[in-house]
């Protein structure tokens, strides 16, 4: 389907606030539709006051821009190649997915504005609840953006974890066995894929998730 639009980001916030799939101003359920109108509430606005209070985020963002554009950093967009030079993302195997998920660029070039940057920091900060973290983790792990984690997504996920290079990949039999075990543990409705609810359920029982899904500037 269509790439995730601004509506999908707000859905996360509304989901954990009200516990209901949110409806946008167009009256459609924002989890699934490509909402034409941008919804008014964005996660970053709620958190912006907290994050901007420590100006380190703003400072880091403006350092990524060339000198001429630093004056109006708030409205500039940083290209993906610059974002990936951040030490926090440099060594991360999910760097491309993170840029894709948080970028609001219309050209689909994964460039990030300051709002996107704040979005990303707020999701990865300590003060984000585990529900919003697990929602974004699901988005990051969903390599084909179809709303579920199927076998191919899980395969790509495991390959990201074990590292690049031929000798660091699991063999086919090992991969099959691993994916079978994962689905056995987490797939409740036995449809062969993990949807958002199942993912959030399994992650909520993991003791390490909150401490590992964290980026500190």
């Amino acid at each position: 389907g269509d790439p995730p639009g601004p509506a999908l980001r707000t859905a996360g916030r509304e989901l954990w606030e009200t516990g209901r799939p949110p409806r946008c101003s167009a009256g459609q359920s924002c989890l699934h539709c490509p909402c034409p109108e941008g919804c008014l509430l964005r996660p970053s606005r709620h958190r912006a006051s907290l994050v901007l209070a420590s100006s380190s985020a703003y400072k880091r963002f403006s350092e990524l821009l060339p000198k001429e554009e630093r004056e109006n950093a708030c409205s500039a967009r940083v290209p993906k190649s610059q974002i990936l030079t951040l030490p926090e993302l440099r060594a991360n195997p999910f760097q491309h997915r993170i840029c894709w998920v948080f970028s609001t660029s219309d050209d689909r070039d994964d460039s990030m504005s300051f709002e996107d940057f704040l979005d990303m920091l707020s999701v990865f900060s300590d003060s984000a609840t585990s529900d919003i973290k697990s929602y974004y983790a699901f988005r990051i792990f969903d390599f084909d953006d179809d709303g579920t984690l199927d076998r191919k997504d899980l395969e790509k996920l495991v390959n990201c974890l074990t590292g690049q290079g031929e000798e660091s990949r699991l063999s086919n039999t090992e991969m099959e066995q691993l994916i079978r075990n994962i689905l056995e543990e987490s797939d409740i409705d036995k449809d062969g894929t993990i949807n958002l609810a199942e993912f959030q359920h399994i992650v909520s029982r993991s003791p390490d998730f909150a401490s590992s899904f964290k980026i500190v500037l």
Partner: protein
Amino acid sequence: MILRSVSILQKKEYSILNRCIYNIKRRKDCQQADIKYLSGWKQWKRTSSKSLKKVLNEVKELLSYLELWRHDIHSIEGKFGTGIQSYFSFLRFLVLLNFIIFILMFSVITLPSIISKYGIFNSSFAKIPPKNIEPHCTVYKPSGNKGLVYFYTYLKDLFSGTGFLKETSLFYGYYTIDTAWLSNLSYNLPLAYLLATFAYLGLSLLWIIKRSVEGFKQNLVRDEDQFQSYCNKVFAGWDFCITDPNAARLKHRSLQYELQTDLEEERLKQKIADRTMKEKLRIYSLRILINIIVFAVLSGCFYSIYRATVFSQENSNDISNTNFQVNLLLQYLPSMVITLANFIAPQIFSFLIRFEDYSPAFEIRLTLMRCVFVRLANIGVLLFSLWSQISYCATDECKACGYNYELYPCWESAVGQEMYKLMIFDFIIILAVTLFVDFPRKLLVAHCSCKPVQWCGLQEFGIPDNVLEIVYGQTICWIGTFFSPLLPAIATIKYFIIFYIKKISLIHTCKPAARPVRASSSNFFFLVVLLIGLVLAFIPLGISIAHIPSSKACGPFRSFNTSWAVVPDTILGFPTGLQQVLHGIASEAFAVPFFMVTCLIMFYIIALAGAHKRVVEQLREQLVMVRFDPLVCTPKVFIVVSVIRHAEEQQFL
């Protein structure tokens, strides 16, 4: 995955919710009540305890800056992972332990002896000749270097503890003092010597147990079968805080290894469950055969060490052999044979274990246990062969003394010399292997591109081997300190230098490990091996102190039958009441009830642990049922439960 009827599930789901809401309400009420009814005194107590905690935290932070090698170990952790870092923390712990033991022995034994021998502070010492002992047993002429000698004699003496070194305070023979007098105070040196020995053994035991308790708790929790281990590792496995590419590489490797090991363990469990009776019989008989081979290898090692020690003792006491190199070689023959056995036996064990078809984790543990046993038992065999030499008595005069007074007038010093030689040789071997094997290997791999060399590659930093090496050295130190009170100082310096040698070797000559090791299991394993070493050190010391007659020609225990005899002797000097109490404690009338009470307490604690484990199992089952029953997992219930949890976090963080 047990499906139950709808009504029960719905009751269960609502009961869980009700319990959650009730708990939150109750906690909220309690907190509010606390705040309202807190009187002035309680408020002051609360604020003062908070500020005290703050002060304590700051003090702890300051103290952590004083930690030895804090920065080095931190950088090693960042570059090489927590497994290798735990090895270096272990090394630091041993340096500190040896230093403390040295301070103890020095201040209690050596310092009073030196003060009284040189008459400082108006002190003097008394040397009471032993009564009721044959005079020939008390003759002791330490063969020091008389007249002009070649310079290399001093070198030989330095390396083998003979000659001028034998008469120094390094060895037992120096402390031939029965009482030291400082002005009017008397200092019972024999009793102090014995008590200091018990003190350093007890201190080591308590410190090691204290450190291993934390590791044990972590190990216990980790070993429990996690019920969603794969999902945990895959979804929460990557640490997003990693910024260093090296650390990221390490993490990738450790994740790959963990996943592969878990999958392999699962496959193996399945294979074991599928084994037929015929296969089981074959495997068990093969295992018995291999254990017999292991036993044969061990016997071979022990016998060769015994022969080497006997040969070395017989020929080095032969004074006609004055050739410097040959004499040194003879002195070091037992050490060399032990090092050779310590090198060959583990290779054989790791080759044999492949045929025994155990799970990988058990394979590692069994090989390690066998290597530990080889290393520590080798020391025991050396000591046993020494004792057989010392207590070998052919003549009646010899039997009157209880030990071979001609060859070993001061046999404790002789044992001390052997331990000294072992320690020096161990240190030389570690230095030599690093200088002459590791660095040339690295140069060869870096500059020569022929296939065999590249296939061999750089060496890995093998943690188990390195740990066994230093535990072996520490066991020698523990055994030897009784016979050579300044040995802990040598051990401290040795481990201090080894830290830097290993660090340089690690950074410059080692490649990263293919099998990353977890820190929590490593810490516990190191301390268990160290504890085994300590317990094995108790045995030779116990036999020396309590069984073998002390030498009558030198040392503080000349007037006593055995070294232990000083304790009953001192007790006889106590007031009668105290004597009766002590006799009562040592008698059966006290020991049997004490033993029974200890057993009762142990049974109680075991029962408590079993009950806790059952509660954990029940809770886990509940979680699984809640998780897998589709009727419980309705989105409504899930979202409400997550909202409740969210509210809890917000309020009670």
